[in-house]
């Protein structure tokens, strides 16, 4: 894994992992993760650069639809497995946290 698995990154990956075949666009991602779009964008850029996520523009006529085209994001097959592993590793307590727990347990 070439980048830090921040809480925001985990939220985005979890949203995409709920249904890896489903494509999500900015507003949906924002609603599912609770993140503002500006926060999510650099993370998506980074995930795309690492090949975890692929994106495409929606193929519509903006005049007919009366809205701009959306940019859809989805996990790649490699990205889905790496994301699952990454989230699981991030949830695992760190050795430092385990040591702290042990110390607090000893005091109690």
């Amino acid at each position: 894994m070439a980048f830090r698995m921040t809480v925001q990154t985990q939220l985005i990956l979890q949203a995409l992992l709920r249904d890896p075949a489903r494509e999500l666009y900015g507003l949906e991602l924002s609603e599912e993760t609770g993140l503002l779009p500006g926060t999510a964008y650099p993370i998506l850029l980074r995930l795309e650069r690492e090949g975890w996520v692929s994106s495409r523009w929606e193929d519509i006529d903006p005049r007919a639809e009366k809205r701009p085209a959306r940019r859809y994001y989805r996990l790649t097959s490699a990205g889905a497995s790496q994301a699952s592993a990454g989230i699981a590793a991030a949830r695992r307590p760190t050795p430092a946290a385990l040591r702290r727990l042990a110390t607090e347990g000893g005091h109690a």
Binding site: L27, S30, G38, L45, R67, P68, R71
Partner: protein, 267 residues
């Protein structure tokens, strides 16, 4: 129940008032817009209205004074009236030109024509003002303005102009950009921040910058208006990180494409 649009139409003043409420150098299209759109009497149009009436008063005053064989007091009243309205026109017109040049949004207007016409009015009023001051005879009525009076009146009108410009930037109604855009109070701040976003996009590689803006536009088009200020703020707050990511992605792509040999300057 009457809809807000119908109520607004019913509350509108008659068309001559709406027509006169428009700025003197506005284009015909803008005047037409003012005649059919919601109207708030603005200071510039009031100055214009008073200025136009001033000529009638001046002519009447001159005729009366001539007939009475003097009438310095009447002359002074006319003189001050013209002086005040001319200076007011000049400064308010200048503020209008600055507003057109500095501010964006609102009804589309030919900025160059408006600016040239406005500048002409400003210069014209200023020249007439100065001619009046210079030609004021030493035995002119005490109430006629001297250089100190000129400065005081200019200061007063400048304060009005600054207030008007402030209203243009921050207020509501026809003078605010939000009012002109007709899309709520958030539009003004969002408009300013959108310019900042465009600036930030220029700092990214071209494709990424365009995509960032397009995605932001797409988001804002579909998100509820209450989310807009926070969303734009978040785009701006995360712009430095996005710029870094964008360049990192760009360079990574270049490295991958060239097989690790980035083009370097050859000595």
């Amino acid at each position: 129940m009457t809809s807000p649009a119908v109520a607004a139409r019913e509350d509108r003043p008659p068309w001559p008032v709406r027509f006169l409420a428009c700025a003197p150098t506005d284009t015909f299209r803008s005047r037409l817009w003012a005649a059919v759109g919601p109207v708030v009497i603005n200071p510039k149009s009031v100055a214009f209205f008073l200025f136009a009436f001033g000529w009638i008063i001046i002519l009447a005053g001159i005729v009366t004074a001539e007939a009475a064989g003097g009438g310095k007091a009447w002359f002074a009243v006319c003189y001050n009236y013209m002086f005040l309205t001319l200076t007011g026109m000049s400064v308010l017109e200048a503020s209008g030109v600055v507003a057109h040049l500095v501010l964006r949004g609102g009804p589309r207007r030919p900025i160059l024509i408006v600016s040239v016409l406005g500048a002409t009015v400003v210069l014209g009023c200023f020249v007439i003002d100065m001619v009046m001051v210079i030609n004021t005879p030493l035995d002119a009525p005490a109430v006629a303005p001297d250089l100190l009076g000129f400065a005081s009146i200019s200061m007063l009108v400048a304060m009005v102009a600054v207030t008007m410009l402030y209203a243009l930037r921050n207020g509501s109604g026809r003078f605010s950009m939000a009012g002109q855009l007709g899309s709520g109070a958030g539009s003004l701040t969002a408009g300013g921040r959108w310019r900042a976003m465009r600036l930030a996009a220029r700092l990214m590689p071209r494709d990424v910058g365009r995509r960032w803006l397009a995605e932001a536009e797409s988001f804002l088009a579909e998100a509820p208006p209450t989310l807009h200020p926070g969303a734009v703020r978040s785009y701006l707050a995360n712009a430095p990180q996005t710029i870094t990511e964008a360049w990192a992605g760009y360079l990574t792509g270049r490295v991958r494409a060239t097989g690790g040999d980035l083009p370097s300057r050859r000595l």
